[in-house]
Subunit: 142 residues, 2 copies
DNA sequence: CTCTTGATGCAACTGCGTTGCATTTGCGGC
DNA sequence: GCCGCAAATGCAACGCAGTTGCATCAAGAG
């Protein structure tokens, strides 16, 4: 299901409305091949002629994060749509291309198990984790 | 070899001098059981009666990072001494307390192996990774 | 002790993100 | 289409982390 549709539905369900700026933001996030930070989103929107305040971008991104439709990429404030069926609080495994910024999610049973082990070994009460691999995607390798 | 000694030697080698504040900072970092951010270091020093400006802490931490004697813990600005023979660019596993922000590093063989597996499975050319567990530390649990 | 220059303290500044509040606008009801 | 209410927005002010410029202090070599 398309991100913008899903997001619109979720926002409406909680009593939200669709504004010009919000729609543009959702579409931008959906179209963007890589995670963007609020400031970058704002810049892109302005560039596209959408008159919107940076504050609104922050607020919208915050709302979408809270709804579990976006999640932050580790080590930055950039966000991207959660993958289908992804549980936002727990699933944060992505490979991010250091050249073009495109991201792909992955899952690994061995990794889950190893993380479970670490979880049990530490004295912290673990609530979640963030994992990101960095490298070059196929097209950027050439 | 003790961190403070190593640091003093490295600083002198590059024409640096030992001041009261700097010595106290090195000793604090050495003694601290967990990574501390510049602001925390500053606060601790003041608490211990060392009159030093926050700016100086920042500058000293920056110098030590540049000398490769400290490294940052992932997801925070907290620093800790590099372990003997450690390559600072690669150590990126930490548990971060979501309440107080304190961080502790960890290593897990199983995790390393699982990551190696993922590395080989993906079509990206992996150059590194970031991993961070989030949770509550012992003292924040109460 | 004197002198050089590295280190420091202070204040101003930058950048990111947040908050308060008045205004605008989506949209449900008529 | 029009009205009215609450959501969303824009603007300005603010808070916090970290940086920079510059005058002053002091480590340590001679």
């Amino acid at each position: 299901m398309k991100f913008s549709r899903k997001a619109e539905a979720a926002l409406r369900r909680r009593g939200g409305r669709m504004t010009r700026a919000r729609r543009a933001l959702l579409e931008l996030i959906e179209k963007s091949p890589r995670p963007l930070a609020p400031r970058q989103l704002h810049r892109e929107l302005r560039r596209a002629g959408v008159r919107v305040d940076l504050v609104s971008v922050y607020r919208n991104v915050a709302a979408l994060l809270e709804l579990g439709l976006l999640h932050r990429v580790l080590g930055s404030t950039a966000v991207r749509p959660c993958a289908e069926g992804e549980r936002p609080a727990r699933c944060h495994h992505a490979v991010v291309c250091t050249a073009c910024g495109s991201a792909r999610e992955f899952h690994s049973l061995a990794l889950e198990r190893a993380l479970g082990e670490v979880r049990r070994a530490t004295r912290y009460r673990i609530s979640g984790h963030l994992l990101e691999l960095r490298g070059l995607c196929e097209s950027c390798r050439s």
